[in-house]
Structure formats: C-alpha cells, structure tokens
C-alpha cells in the first residue's frame, strides 16, 4: 500500500553469515538514526557543552565512528592495533573522550558541521561492511586475544560479542544524543 512505513531488520545479501549480516543491518540502522537526529543542527549546536566535563553531540558522533572503526579493525579483522586515522582521517584523541571532569569540548571538532560528521559515519559504515562481509558463522565464537593494556589488563572477546557491542554502543550514544538535543539552548 502506498504510504506504508515498513520497519524490518532484513539481513542484506553479500555476507558469509546471516547473523553477521543482521548485526550489520542493525548498526547501519542506528547510524542512520544518529544522522537523522542531527540534520537540523548548526556547528554551534554540535559543539555545545551542557556543563564542563560533559560530552558534546559532535564528540558523541565522532566517538561512535571512531569506536566502530576500531572495533572492526581489532575485533572483526583481528588486527593487533587499531588505525582509525587511515579510515576516518581523525585520530582516537580527536574525539576528546573521556573528558576530564572540567574539560572543554575537543578542539579538533570545534566548528565542524553535520556534513563532516556524516562523512565520518559513512566511512565507518563502509569499513565495517567490508570487514564483516567475509566472516563465517564458524568465526563468531573464536577468541580474539588482545595484547595487554598498559595496566596489565588482558581482554579476550569473540566476534559475536563485538557485533553485539557495536549495536549497543552506538544505540547508547544515540540515546544520549537525543537527551543533549533536547537540552540545547533555544536559538
């Protein structure tokens, strides 16, 4: 029927695993909603900080793109080190998270407009789709053992968990972004 809204989670073709395809569809959907939520915002809105030490909408958008790209590199592709700059053109430090308790917004993101963040998210998405396409069901439960962190902590995870984390991480920040958007000072 013309005018119907269709809401579904259809695993896209071209993936070795239906589960992986379904998760990628979920991340794609949340990324699209992130962008939709900021379409009308100005660079000043994107850089607005409710209080010192609190993240801006722009920082959250950059963080989602950086985290997704890093997770795809170390969690899906099993690379030893992330290299998000090669994909996004910004570094992990540029996102500015975590801020100090009284920290100002990340200077690397000041003055950036929606198109800048849309490009970051599009790059992250394309990278994730490429990284995920060849993952078979048999690779989902394989342990990815990360090198020890500076404090000696070791992390071990599976690709199944990484795909779940990509979804819930982006969704969590979408929720935060929606609150911040509601808090923006009246123009």
């Amino acid at each position: 029927v013309s005018g119907d809204t269709v809401t579904r989670l259809a695993p896209p073709a071209g993936y070795a695993s239906v589960h992986v395809a379904s998760c990628v569809a979920g991340v794609d959907e949340i990324r699209a909603r992130l962008l939709d939520a900021v379409q009308s915002l100005t660079p000043a809105d994107l850089a607005w900080q409710p209080r010192p030490g609190a993240n801006t909408i722009g920082m959250l958008l950059a963080h989602v793109a950086v985290a997704e790209t890093h997770l795809a590199q170390v969690g899906l592709l099993g690379e030893r080190d992330g290299h998000v700059h090669d994909v996004l053109g910004i570094t992990m430090e540029d996102e500015g998270l975590p801020l100090a308790p009284d920290g100002p917004p990340s200077p690397a993101l000041t003055g950036r407009d929606v198109a800048f963040f849309a490009d970051l998210l599009a790059r992250a998405g394309a990278h994730t789709r490429t990284a995920a396409a060849g993952i078979a069901d048999s690779a989902l439960e394989v342990d990815i053992v990360r090198p020890p962190r500076p404090d000696g902590t070791r992390r071990i995870f599976t690709r199944r968990w990484v795909l779940f984390h990509m979804i819930e991480h982006a969704a969590g920040h979408l929720g935060q972004l929606q609150v911040l958007r509601r808090e923006l000072p009246q123009r």
């Binding site: 579904r8 379904s22 979804i167 969590g172 979408l174 929720g175 911040l180």
Partner: protein, 192 residues
C-alpha cells in the same frame, strides 16, 4: 599483583526453537547485567533525580524499558491489551510517566522505588519476554505484522525487528542512564 583478564563472550542459550531469537536474548541479558552493575550504587533518590523539570529520571527509564519489552512481545504474538500488560508486569503501561510534559515531575507511581524494586520489575518483564521468544520459530520471526501509528500511518513490522528493537531501545536508555549518572556528579550547567 595478578593481572586481570576481561572476557567478553555471548553464550547462546539452548532449547530455543530459533537460534536467532535465543541470540537476541543472550544479548539482552548481557546488556541488563552491565546496566544493573553500573546502577548498583544508586539510591532511591538517585533513581528519582531529575536534571530539570520535564526530564526523565533513571527510575522512569528502567520502568519504561520493562513496559516496552512486555508490550512488544505481546504485539509479536498478537495478544496485546492494556489489561494483559498489567497482568504480566504488575504496573500500568503509563506508570513510567513517559512522555513527561515540558515541566513535568516524575510519576507518583515510582516515588521512593528502590533499585531492588526496579530489578524485580525488569526480571518479570525479561522472564515473560524470553518465555515468549523461546517458542518462536524462524518462520515466526519472518512474519509481517500490520500496525498503525497513533497518527494513523500504517506500518508493516517484521517480527524479527521486535527483539532487535527491544535490544537497541534498552541500549539507548541505558546510555541515557549513564549520562544522568554523569550529570549528577558534574558541576552546575553553563549557558552558551
């Protein structure tokens, strides 16, 4: 000092008719475990804290998640009614107080509620949702439901979308709870 090892895996529960449905609930349980761990030190006052009038509290978000989980699983099986939701959950679908009016205060139904109370509510919702999903087949997940938005717009929804939505919906509000915890601890707001 012994080095800490953090292990992140998802165990798919056995005995479900659909592995995909089981996978969604493994993810939901992982998410809930982390959410309640992050809220473990919240007092009843923390759960009822509003950053300003009109804004949701952590307690409201917890109640909302439980309501939404039961609501959508009832929709998935074509058994939704207001009375059925109350029967399953023990609270009314409006008791979360959402959406709040612009200057609204938290709902009376949640006044003084502790984290233990919200945990019980969550567990009740999850038990019902998981028992419902456990019986779903792959064919059930592919089924399309015809729904209508409050404004009359027709919507077609696949059942597979429902557990996914419950997951990302809870994740979104969990992110908001973390933001509220953060704001509770920060100095006063500034203006642009």
């Amino acid at each position: 000092m012994a080095r800490k090892t953090v292990i992140r895996t998802l165990e798919i529960p056995k005995g479900w008719r659909s592995r995909e449905a089981a996978s969604f609930f493994a993810q939901l349980d992982e998410l809930s475990a982390r959410m309640f761990a992050d809220l473990a030190t919240c007092s009843a006052a923390d759960l009822a804290w509003q950053s300003r009038p009109g804004m949701n509290t952590i307690g409201m978000l917890l109640a909302h998640n439980a309501i939404v989980e039961v609501y959508w699983m009832l929709i998935a099986t074509g058994r939704y009614s207001d009375a059925r939701l109350v029967q399953v959950l023990g609270i009314d679908g409006d008791d979360d107080g959402m959406p709040l009016a612009a200057n609204g205060r938290p709902p009376a139904a949640l006044r003084g509620r502790t984290l233990a109370w919200y945990r019980k509510l969550h567990d009740r919702a999850r038990r019902f949702a998981a028992n419902t999903a456990k019986r779903m087949t792959s064919a059930d997940l592919r089924r399309t439901l015809d729904r209508q938005r409050p404004d009359g717009t027709p919507v077609k929804i696949t059942v597979r979308w429902i557990p996914y939505h419950v997951l990302e919906h809870q994740a979104g509000h969990y992110g908001q709870m973390l933001l509220l915890r953060h704001l509770q601890r920060l100095p006063k707001r500034k203006t642009r």
